[in-house]
C-alpha cells in the first residue's frame, strides 16, 4: 500500500476497488443474516458505518500512545464501546429497527472488517485519513448490504424497501415498492443460500465491470498491452 494517497484514492478504494465485502469477503455473518430486505441491509450498513468511523478516528488518535503488544485488546475495547453506544442509540431512537436487527448489532463487535481497518489503516494514518477511510469502507459495506438486501427482497418477496418507515420514519413509507400481488416469491432468496448466491452474483458483476473499465482505459491509452496480471486472490475472513 502506498503511504501517500489522496482522499479520493482512499475513498475509491474503500467504496469500490478494495470493497471489504466484495473483495475482502469480510463480515459474512451480518451479510448473510441481515440482508433479507433492503431496509434491514441499509440499517445494518449504517450502524456498521457509524462504528467504523468512530473506531477508525479513535484508533488513529491514540496510535502513538498504544504499545504494539496491547494494540489488539485496545482496538477491541474501542470497537466494543462504540458498538454498545450504537446499540443504545438505536434502541432509543429506532426501536422498531432495533427489534428487527437485534442481536446482529452487538455482533458488529466481532466483524473482522472493523478491526481489520483499525489494524491495517487507522493505526498507521492520520486522523483525517482514517476518518475518510472509515466512511468509505462503511459506505462500501452499506452499498453491498443494501443491494444484496434489495435483490433478495425483490426475488424472495416481490417487494422493495418494505417497512422502510422503521428506519426512515413516515417518509420512508413511500419508498416501498410492490411487484404485484400475484408474485409468490422465490423462497430460496430469503433463506441463507440466497445470500451466498446473491453475493456471488454481485462479485461476478463487480469483476465484469472492473474488466470492462480496464479494457476501456487500455484502449483509450491506445496502448493495447494485454494485462496479464490477475487481481490478487481475496483473503477469507
Amino acid at each position: 500500500m502506498k503511504a501517500t494517497k489522496g482522499y479520493a484514492g482512499i475513498f475509491g478504494e474503500g467504496l469500490w476497488s478494495n470493497n471489504q465485502m466484495l473483495v475482502g469477503l469480510l463480515g459474512l455473518c451480518p451479510l448473510l443474516a441481515t440482508t433479507t430486505s433492503a431496509t434491514n441491509g441499509l440499517g445494518m450498513g449504517l450502524a456498521t458505518t457509524a462504528v467504523l468511523v468512530c473506531s477508525n478516528a479513535t484508533v488513529s488518535l491514540v496510535r502513538n500512545l498504544v504499545r504494539p503488544e496491547i494494540r489488539i485488546p485496545v482496538f477491541v475495547l474501542v470497537i466494543a464501546s462504540f458498538v454498545t453506544l450504537v446499540e443504545l442509540v438505536m434502541q432509543a431512537f429506532f426501536y422498531e429497527m432495533y427489534l428487527v436487527l437485534g442481536l446482529f448489532i452487538s455482533l458488529i463487535v466481532v466483524n473482522c472488517m472493523i478491526i481489520g481497518r483499525a489494524e491495517a489503516f487507522a493505526s498507521k494514518h492520520s486522523v483525517d485519513r482514517a476518518l475518510v477511510d472509515g466512511l468509505a469502507v462503511g459506505l462500501g459495506a452499506t452499498l453491498v448490504l443494501t443491494s444484496l438486501g434489495a435483490l433478495r427482497e425483490l426475488v424472495g418477496q416481490g417487494t422493495l424497501f418494505n417497512q422502510a418507515e422503521l428506519l426512515l420514519g413516515e417518509a420512508g413509507r413511500h419508498l416501498t415498492f410492490h411487484l404485484g400481488d400475484d408474485y409468490q416469491g422465490a423462497l430460496i432468496a430469503i433463506l441463507p443460500p440466497g445470500a451466498f448466491i446473491g453475493l456471488g452474483l454481485m462479485i461476478a458483476l463487480k469483476n465484469l465491470i472492473d474488466k470492462a473499465v480496464k479494457r476501456l482505459s487500455a484502449a483509450r491509452r491506445a496502448k493495447p498491452v494485454q494485462a496479464a496480471t490477475q487481481p490478487p486472490e481475496p483473503a477469507a475472513g
Binding site: V66, R67, P73, V74, S81, Q91, A92, G156
Partner: protein, 217 residues
Amino acid sequence: MKTKTILLAGTVLGAFATSGVALVAVTHAMVDQRIADNQYQAMQRKLAAILPEGASDNDPLRDYIQVEARELLGTDATQVYRVRHGDDPVAVVLEPVVPDGYAGPIRLLVSVMHDGTLGGVRVISHHETPGLGDKIEEAKSDWVYEFKGKSLTDPPPEKWAVKRDGGEFDQFTGATITPRSVVNAVKNTLIYVQNQGDRLFEPASEAAEQPAGDKDR
C-alpha cells in the same frame, strides 16, 4: 525494565477500559428512560391490538402477576396482565410459549376475555421457516386473526386442531407443524385461564413497581 513495560502497558489498557466504560455508562444514563419508554409503548400497542377498544381503565402493564405453569403455558415464569374496568375484571393477557414449534420455541401474546373468549392472539417472536411457518406472523398473513372470539366451547375442545387433524383451524401449505403447535398452545392457555378462574384477578401481593416491558432488556 521489563516489569516497567508491562506495568505501563497494563495502565494504558486500564485507561482505555475505564474510558470505554465511562462512555457507555454516560450514554446509557442519557437514553435509559427513552428506551424504557419505547419498550413500554411497544408493549402497550401490542396489548391494545388484542383488546377491545376502551374496554379498560387500568394500566395492565403495571397490574400483573407472575405465574408458573410449565404444563399449560410452556414456560416456568410468565406474566399475567390483568385488564379491568373499575373493579370489574375485563380480560387477562398472557405470554405463553409454544414449546414445540418447528424450529424452537414460539412466544405468543394471548388475551382471554372474562367470558372465556379469545380477544386475540399475536406472535411475539419465533424462528419458523421464512415463507412457510412464518405465516403465523401478523405481517405475513391473516392467520392469527382466526383465533379472535373463539373459546373452549366454540369450537368444542376436540375441534381445537388444524383441519388436517380434523379440527377447525387452517394449516399452511407445506407447514403443518407450526400451526398445529400454536393452536394447541392457545387451547392450553384457555384451559389454564378456565382452571384458574377469578384467582387470576386477585390483587398482587405487592404493587408492581417496574413497568413490565423492562424484562425484555
